[in-house]
């Protein structure tokens, strides 16, 4: 079920402003791909254009192609709703729905598609998703409690459970640990390792050590120059990237000389 993504000469705009220019890459199935780079270079924008969340912002649009297993995401006939249904997303700050219980939060996506779900079926989805997110043992006794009552790290794992409950093919993570403490972060990183066997995962991170720890491949984004659009500088195997990058500026960034 996990799928690969091919990005072909993608330009991303906010209105007239060109944010990211000329991206080409192939994201492999069942692997973790990390996007790194300094602030404001278009990593998150790039990520959001992979499941058409980018166009939610008024005036935002893209030019170029994003192909998921040969199917172009930006074809006229493609329904963005169906795209997002299959390419799940986890955000920077945990965002469980405040009025829903833990149980209902996990099922939120499934409820959209199937109004009537058998209780047993629903229970099974909740248990499977929460186990998948390594949260089951912590919350199994209080599934009826509001999701907002959990700690930040637990909330983030609840959001991951919510995203995998609809069984997406790809999971996008936008700095999923930046609002969390080190212990929660390491729990999420462990989780990413486990999820890799079933999902294609793309993660944006500010933290280079994190990228080195969790990812198989890494894309380094940078601005061409101040005021210029962001671009993909280097896309490479993570080990190679951190040991012996092809590009000078990648090396400068990784060794901490800027950014």
């Amino acid at each position: 079920m996990a799928k690969s993504i091919t990005v072909d000469d993608l330009d991303i705009y906010y209105g007239d402003f060109l944010a990211v220019q000329g991206v080409n890459m192939t994201i492999k199935a069942r692997s973790v791909t990390a996007f790194i780079g300094p602030s404001g270079c278009g990593k998150s924008t790039m990520l959001r254009s992979l499941n058409r969340m980018h166009e939610v912002i008024p005036g935002a649009r893209v030019e170029g192609k994003v192909m998921v297993d040969g199917q172009s995401l930006y074809d006229n006939a493609v329904d963005p709703v169906a795209v997002r249904r299959q390419i799940g997303m986890v955000f920077q700050r945990p965002n469980p729905f405040p009025t829903m219980s833990i149980y209902e939060n996990v099922l939120a996506g499934n409820r959209l598609n199937a109004k009537k779900m058998k209780k047993a079926e629903a229970d099974e989805i909740v248990e499977r998703s929460l186990k998948g997110a390594n949260l089951w043992n912590e919350v199994k006794d209080r599934l009826g409690k509001p999701g907002m009552g959990l700690s930040g790290g637990q909330q983030q794992r609840l959001c991951i459970a919510r995203a995998i409950a609809v069984e997406p093919q790809v999971l996008l993570m936008d700095e999923p640990c930046s609002a969390l403490d080190p212990i929660s972060t390491s729990a999420i990183e462990d989780l990413i390792h486990e999820l890799k066997s079933d999902y294609t995962i793309v993660i944006v991170t500010h933290n280079m050590q994190q990228a080195a720890r969790v990812s198989d491949e890494t894309g380094f984004f940078n601005l061409k120059a101040a005021g210029q659009p962001g671009q993909l500088v280097e896309f490479n195997n993570t080990q190679k990237m951190f040991a012996n990058p092809d590009n000078e500026s990648t090396e400068a960034y990784i060794s901490g000389r800027f950014g």
């Binding site: 079920m1 998921v68 199917q71 995401l73 074809d75 006229n76 006939a77 493609v78 329904d79 709703v81 169906a82 795209v83 249904r85 299959q86 959209l112 598609n113 499977r128 186990k131 998948g132 390594n134 069984e167 093919q169 486990e194 999820l195 066997s197 079933d198």
Partner: protein
């Protein structure tokens, strides 16, 4: 843990990204068809324009939903239906509101001429032109009195609530009372002023000041509310900075807190004024009705613009209505100006952010 993860059913993977899709411009197509189909009714049955529009809209919504449900999914059908309904609600609601504004302007403009604003409605001779001078004066005097009464009370109450009474019982009680006062019907405020003045000055006492008291009763809660909000926006850092310099509390409040929130407070007061200037009911009871100009709020009847509109309406001839429309236009313009002034003040005094 990953061992507990059952592989998801294979069927999921085969969900296509595409499904049936209405062609671009489907809305327009359905709209034209609906309008044409509905057009049969007026032709055949002789219905009017209104009926035609209503039937078109209904056909449009039903048509689009059904088509979408057949070609697309049930979910996009719901989405399309709600979108259509929401826009319809928008359209329906705009009709009377636009009609109202248009009527006030189109009927009001002809009534306004050089004598309209400068003469009172009191005729000394039969051919003398009449105007609304007395009502403008009355409005200004009564509103001014109301502002003078309510602004100090409102601001002090708000300062107490925010700066001194944080969370204590009295403060909570006051907040509750202010909330309740926001909901007082204007006529009840009028009755209050009326019965109070009756109790103090005997039956039949009517003067502008009574109206001002009634209006300030309506105005105080608005002022308290908006001032409170503004004072709460002042960051505690600023207060602490002042305390750290050894400034006493009352000086901190006057020099730092009030100065920072001044713009917001003035905006709030202006909006509250705009709100009460159009009040009719309480003034009808207590300020009385006269055709002469009266500048003394403590003695004699006093007419304001809204009350004048009402009295013209009661007289009921076409000429009276013309005056009423003219007055309505003047009143709406005053309210509009106050709103714009409030916005401009808000902009000017807004805390400078960034560069």
């Amino acid at each position: 843990m990953s061992t507990t993860l059952k592989p998801a059913p294979v069927s999921v993977a085969s969900i296509p990204l595409t499904h049936g899709h209405l062609p671009r411009g489907a809305e327009i197509l359905v709209g034209v068809v609906a309008a044409a189909a509905a057009g049969l009714f007026p032709l055949l049955l002789g219905w009017g324009l209104v009926a035609w529009v209503i039937v078109s809209v209904i056909l449009f919504i039903v048509g689009l939903t059904v088509w979408s449900a057949i070609v697309e999914t049930r979910r996009s059908a719901t989405d399309r239906m709600v979108t259509a309904l929401v826009w319809t609600a928008f359209g329906i609601a705009l009709v009377p509101l636009v009609s109202l504004l248009w009527t006030v302007v189109s009927k009001g403009v002809p009534a306004i001429n050089s004598t309209f604003l400068s003469y009172s409605a009191f005729r000394t001779s039969l051919d003398q032109p009449i105007g609304i001078y007395h009502a403008i004066v009355g409005t200004l005097v009564i509103t001014l009195c109301a502002v003078v009464i309510s602004v100090p009370i409102g601001i002090f109450a708000a300062i107490y609530l925010v700066e001194y009474g944080k969370g204590n019982r009295l403060a909570r009680g006051i907040t509750f009372l202010v909330d309740v006062m926001t909901g007082i019907p204007s006529i009840v405020a009028g009755l209050f002023a009326f019965s109070m003045f009756t109790a103090f000055f005997g039956a039949g006492y009517r003067a502008g000041i009574g109206g001002a008291v009634a209006l300030s009763l309506l105005m105080i809660p608005i002022v308290v509310r908006s001032t409170e909000e503004m004072l709460r926006l002042v960051p505690d850092d600023l207060r602490e900075a002042a305390y750290a310099l050894g400034t006493p509390k009352w000086r901190t409040i006057t020099k730092v807190v009030l100065r920072t929130s001044l713009g917001g407070i003035i905006t709030g007061v202006t909006l509250a004024t705009a709100r009460i200037i159009g009040e009719t009911a309480p003034l009808l009871l207590i300020a009385g009705l006269t055709t002469r100009t009266n500048v003394n709020p403590f003695e004699g009847f006093m007419t304001t613009l809204p009350v004048f509109i009402y009295s013209q309406f009661q007289k009921g001839t076409a000429a009276d209505f013309e005056l009423a429309w003219g007055t309505a236009l003047v009143l709406v313009i005053i309210v509009l100006l106050l709103n714009i002034v409030a916005r401009v003040i808000g902009k000017i005094f807004a805390p400078k952010t960034g560069r």
